[in-house]
């Protein structure tokens, strides 16, 4: 992210349009949005959207998040402007890849990964062998963190404990917001993510709270 930012060419083009068209632009925008709204909300688009989602048959988490998104309309827009991100609607329908070799979207500046695909796959496979070990290690670390926070609290410094409580509160808040599945205990977690031959197929991350400036109270 240290590379220099360049103003996108279509921002420059938009500035020219503003100067050339002037005040008439307002009514042109209004007409354009009205037409697109009628189209997006039309029965054809709504049924196409429903059918796409039905045929995609994605996992539960994807279904929950793309429920309110008009994927059919989103699918047409990049084509209409010949945009580069042609796989955006597909990913909204099936979920975005987050791990392993994530394909190039073509949207951002290309970079070279330090490892070849074969080298990377070796690293990936080695990491995946440690899923069980990681789970136990994270439990140990989180318990240690809690014990330290509790000890500090007993000595009069409750900041770390308060932060852990806030992390828990914020996490629980995500469940009714439809962003996260309800919490699981150890057994439920293992049951959910262990395959037929007994290998844990999940790689959890420890959650921490960080102060990020101030917000209006």
């Amino acid at each position: 992210m240290g590379k220099e930012y360049r103003l996108p060419p279509d921002v420059t083009a938009a500035a020219k349009v503003n100067l050339r068209v002037g005040a008439v632009l307002s009514s042109q925008r209004s007409t354009g949005i009205t037409k697109r709204r009628t189209f997006a909300n039309s029965l054809v688009m709504q049924s196409m959207d429903a059918e796409l989602k039905d045929r995609a048959n994605p996992p539960e988490n994807v279904r929950r998040l793309h429920k309110g998104v008009n994927v059919a309309f989103l699918g047409l827009l990049p084509h209409a402007i010949r945009g580069v991100d042609q796989s955006l609607p597909h990913n909204m329908l099936h979920g975005f890849p987050i791990i392993h070799d994530v394909p190039d979207s073509g949207v951002y500046r290309a970079t070279d990964h330090p490892l070849t695909l074969d080298e990377f796959c070796d690293v990936y496979d080695a990491i995946m062998l440690t899923n069980e070990e990681l789970m136990e290690e994270l439990k140990r670390r989180m318990r240690h963190k809690y014990d330290a926070a509790m000890a500090a609290s007993l000595k009069g410094d409750s900041r770390a404990l308060d932060l852990m409580k806030e992390v828990e509160r914020l996490t629980l808040l995500e469940v009714p917001q439809g962003l996260c599945a309800p919490g699981l205990d150890d057994t439920e977690f293992r049951d959910k993510f262990t395959n037929d031959i007994g290998d844990l197929q999940a790689r959890p991350m420890p959650r921490h709270g960080v102060f990020q400036g101030k917000k209006v109270g």
Binding site: R6, A13, A15, F96, I98, V102, M142, E168, Q212
Partner: protein, 259 residues
């Protein structure tokens, strides 16, 4: 208190440590992101001045010089943007916390992206990037985004014509961006919407475009809240690592504005 006299509290964000879990090490990316910074408004204003003063030629058409319009900066944000972009490999979105109330570990699985995954940065920005492009093409919006923060430079006179008291700047490019989000079903967060104005705070920096048309000048300065925070923090005898990182980030923005 902030610059508007409102009470401020600590903002705490949940971060999922994908480094310790090696999830990021198990991810191979082929792209990198370059974001605009607080200079965005000045860069766009510069384009307006250049074209208004000199005119321009596109293909065979010559466009003469025109009146430089007053410029305004509008801002928008999107709620829980990382979390709302679905992930394909949901089993790698699990997190662990130690529940103080239950005195036990609890495991949660996010439906969308975790704040901490390197792939999340690229994936969630794609939706914002696409919507910016659509708004530029369909609505001639001079907009861009810093992650989930949208910045839109708006020639003031063009939007006032169709304004009314309840819906300020109707048919402006900011309105267009908002409408496109609604049509797609990823609504902007009304609470974080800032109407376009000649002076607005973007990315912690006050951008003043009130003299862009008359003097070809855009002023950028850090908010007093930001400078007070930095000075107060530096006066403390001890600065914990996480606070030092915060100060460094805020100082970096000050350097970017040349203040």
């Amino acid at each position: 208190m902030d610059d508007d006299g409102e009470t401020l509290i600590d903002k705490i964000r949940d971060i999922d440590d994908a480094r310790i879990s090696s999830t990021n090490a198990a991810t191979r990316l082929h792209e990198s992101l370059v974001t605009p910074n607080c200079e965005f408004s000045a860069r766009v204003a510069d384009e307006f001045v250049r074209f208004a003063q000199d005119g321009w030629q596109d293909d065979q058409d010559l466009f003469p010089l025109s009146v430089m319009p007053e410029l305004q900066l509008g801002l928008d944000d999107i709620w829980a943007s990382y979390r709302r972009v679905p992930s394909r490999e949901n089993n790698f979105c699990a997190i662990i916390i130690f529940s103080v109330s239950l005195q036990d570990w609890r495991w949660f699985v996010a439906y969308g992206h975790n704040f901490g995954l390197t792939s999340a940065v690229l994936n969630f920005n794609r939706m914002h990037e696409a919507l910016c492009v659509l708004s530029r093409v369909f609505g001639a919006s001079c907009c861009d985004h810093f992650f989930d923060d949208y910045m839109d430079i708006i020639p003031a006179i063009y939007s006032i014509l169709f304004s009314d008291s309840n819906r300020q700047h109707v048919n402006s490019s900011q309105w267009c961006l908002d409408e496109l989000h609604t049509l797609i079903g990823m609504c902007l967060e009304p609470k974080k919407h800032k109407h376009s104005a000649s002076v607005n705070v973007a990315l912690g920096v006050e951008a003043d475009l009130s003299e862009a048309a008359s003097l070809e000048k855009v002023s950028l300065k850090p908010t007093s809240g930001r400078t007070d925070f930095i000075l107060d923090s530096l006066r403390k005898a001890e600065v914990p690592p996480r606070m030092a990182a915060t100060i460094l980030g805020k100082l970096y923005l000050l350097l970017a504005t040349g203040s």
